[in-house]
Symmetry: C2
Subunit: 421 residues, 2 copies
Amino acid sequence: MALVVQKYGGSSLESADRIKRVADRIVRTRKEGNDVVVVCSAMGDTTDELTDLAQQVNPVPPEREMDMLLTAGERISNALVAMAIESKGAEAISFTGSQAGVITTAAHQNARIIDVTPGRVRQALDEGYIVLVAGFQGVAQDTKDITTLGRGGSDTTAVALAAALNADVCEIYTDVDGVYTADPRIVPSAKHLQQVPYEEMLELAATGAKVLMLRCVEYARRYGVPIHVRSSYNSKPGTLVTGSVEDLSVEQAMITGVSHDRSEAKITVTGVPDNLGVAGKIFRTVADAEIDIDMVLQNVSGTSSGRTDITFTLSKTNGPRAVSELEKLKGELGFEQVRYDDHVGKVSLVGAGMRSHPGVTATFCEALANAGVNIEIINTSEIRISVLIRDEELDTAVRAIHEAFELDGDEEAVVYAGSGR
Amino acid sequence: MALVVQKYGGSSLESADRIKRVADRIVRTRKEGNDVVVVCSAMGDTTDELTDLAQQVNPVPPEREMDMLLTAGERISNALVAMAIESKGAEAISFTGSQAGVITTAAHQNARIIDVTPGRVRQALDEGYIVLVAGFQGVAQDTKDITTLGRGGSDTTAVALAAALNADVCEIYTDVDGVYTADPRIVPSAKHLQQVPYEEMLELAATGAKVLMLRCVEYARRYGVPIHVRSSYNSKPGTLVTGSVEDLSVEQAMITGVSHDRSEAKITVTGVPDNLGVAGKIFRTVADAEIDIDMVLQNVSGTSSGRTDITFTLSKTNGPRAVSELEKLKGELGFEQVRYDDHVGKVSLVGAGMRSHPGVTATFCEALANAGVNIEIINTSEIRISVLIRDEELDTAVRAIHEAFELDGDEEAVVYAGSGR
C-alpha cells in the first residue's frame, strides 16, 4: 500500500461540480489501495474576494489579521471536499494546518515551515480515513498565531506533509498536465516532459515557469520527495520531478526547456562615481529594504569620466519602493539618476546538457539575433542561460529559442485558464 | 476601567461599510476608557451560502465537517473587524474560539460550553488590545475538533466570555433596540422595556421572543452576567437583562410582555387505548428520537369507548420525523391514527406579577374570546400563560392580549429586517 499526497489548486475547486469531480479522483486513488492525504487550495476566487474585502475596511490590513482572514478560504474548501468524499461512501476528515502539525515561523503572509508533526494525520490514516489538510497555512511556533506560507503555499504544504509522512509521491494537480519545453500558450508545439530532475525544475521555477513554485521544489529536493505534476481535468501521465542531473545519461536530452518571466522590472543607477564600495552601498540599501534582486549588470568602468552605470532587475511589486530608497542616496553617493523600466522580460534556457556542450550560448544568442531581439543583460548558471529583453519581444524570443534547440513535440498541449495557489 | 463584552450579529456586519460602523462603535467604547472584548457572528448571509454549498456536495453533510466549514464564517468577520479597528488607529487582535479557550462537548452542530479558559484574551487585554473572538465556535475537550454551538451560539460565546473574564456587562447588538412588550412588527405601539429580570427573559425567550436565545439567557443567569440588548443602528438605551423577579417591588409592572411563536406544530394521536403506560410509551418514543416536546394535552378519558386522544406540540423541523416514529407504534399500541397539524401558533403572556394577581388568566382568556380566537391547548408556569391557537389568528391574539393588559408605550419602535446568529 502506497501513501499518496495529492494537492488540488483553486481552479479545480471553484464550484460544487468541480469539487465532486476532485472527490471522485480522490476516492478512486483510495480504492486502488492507497492511503491518501489531500491538500486543497481555497476555491476559485475566494482569496481575491477576501483580499478585496480587507482592502475595503483597511487599505493596509495588518498581516496577522490577513492570515486569519485568508486561511478561512482553505478551511472551507477542505471541509467541502471532505463532505463530497463522504457522499461517495468513503470516510474523510479535514484538518486545519495547525491541527495537521504544520509549524512555521511567525512571519505573517510569508511564513516558513519549521517542522511538521503530523500525529493526528497519521492516526486518522491508520483509522482508515482519507485525510484533508488545509493548504497554505500553519501555526507559528512561538506566538501560536495562524500564519500563511505566501505564494505557492499549498504546494509547499503538500510537499512538506509528504516529507513528514514519508509518502511515496506528492501529486500536484493543476490546470496543465505537467511541465512542457515552453509555455504552450506561446509555443503550441511545445513538448511534454515525462521527467525533470530537481535541479532543472528549480531553474525553470526560478526563471518563471509557473507550474511549480520554487520553494516547493526546493523542499522536495531537500527531502527527496518525488513530485508528480498532473492535470485536474484529464488522466494524462503528467510530469515526474525527481532525481538529479548527475543521474542523467549523456544520451538524454541536452536541453530541457525555455521559460519566461514578465514579472520583473529594471533599475539603472546612472553616473555612479567609480569608487570602491559605492556599488556595495547601492545593493546594501536595496537588501536592507528586504528586496531581492535578480540579474545585475555593471557597465565596464574606466571611462574618462570616472563614472559607470549599475543596472539590476527585481520584482515589479518592489520597484517603486526600491526607487524611492535609492533616491535617498543621491546626495551621499553623487550618482546622476535612478531610471526605472518595467517594460522588460526575461527568457531563459534550462538544461543539464549545456554543461558539456559549449555551443549552447552561441546558438542561443544567434537565435535571438536572427529574430531581431536585442539582449540587454545576460546571466548564466551551469545549467541555465537567461537574458533580459524588451517585454514586447518576449513571445518572439521564446519561439525563436524553442525552434533553434529543436524542442518541438508531436502532440498539442491542452491548456486551461486560471491557476491555483 | 470597566470590562465590556460586545456581540454583533451578522446583519450589522453584512458589508464593508457596516463593518466600519461597528468598528467605530468599538473604538468609541475603548476610548471611553473600557477594556473591550468583541464577539462577531458571520457576515450577513455567509452561513446560508456555506450551508448551500455543503448541500450541493453532500445532501447529508457530516456534522464534524459542517462545523469546520461554518466556523470559517466567523473567522472572516472577526479578522475584518480587527482590520477595520486598526485602520481607526486602535490596536486589535482576533482569536478563533479555540484560541480564546472556548472548550466544548464534542456534540457537533450543537456543542455545549464546558469551560472557558481565556488566558490569551486576558493577556491581549493587558497588553492594551481590543480583542475579537469568533463567535458560535469552540474546540471539543476530548477530540480537539472544531465545534459549533448551534442557534444563538454567538450570543452564548459572548456571555460565556463575559462570565469567564468577570466582565461588567455583555452588550448584545442586534437589529432591534431591546426587548418590547410585544413584537413591534405586530403591535406598533409596543412599549420598550428598560429592564427585564432573568426569569422573565427566560420565559420570553422560551416562548418565541427572538431577541435573545434561551441558552444565552440561561448562561447569563447562572453566572450573573448582566446582558445589555442594544441596536447596532442607533444609540438608544436598549434593555438591560439582569436581576431576579424576587427583587421587584410590588409597584413594578405586573405584566412584562406578550411573545409568540410560529415554529411549532401539533401532533394528535387519536383513539389511544386508555391503558396504563400507553401515554408513557408514546412520549418515550419521541424522546428516544431526541425530539423535544413543548405543550401536552391529554383529553379527559373515561368515555364509554375506553379510548382517548393525546396531543402535543413540537418544533416543525422535527414534525415529519416524529410522525414516522409514531406510525411504527400503531400495531403495538392499537391507536387509531397520528394527525399532524402545522398551522398552529402559540401566544404567551409573561410577567412576575401574575403570581399574586389571580385575575390574569381570566383576563387573558376573555381577551382571546372577545377577539374570536379559540384556544386549543393552555399551559402555564408561575409567571407565564401560553395558549395554542390557529396560526392565522396569531397576530390578532397578540394585539388583543397586549391591549387587554394595557401594555402600550408612547414611542414607536424602530425595526430592521434580518437577524444575527
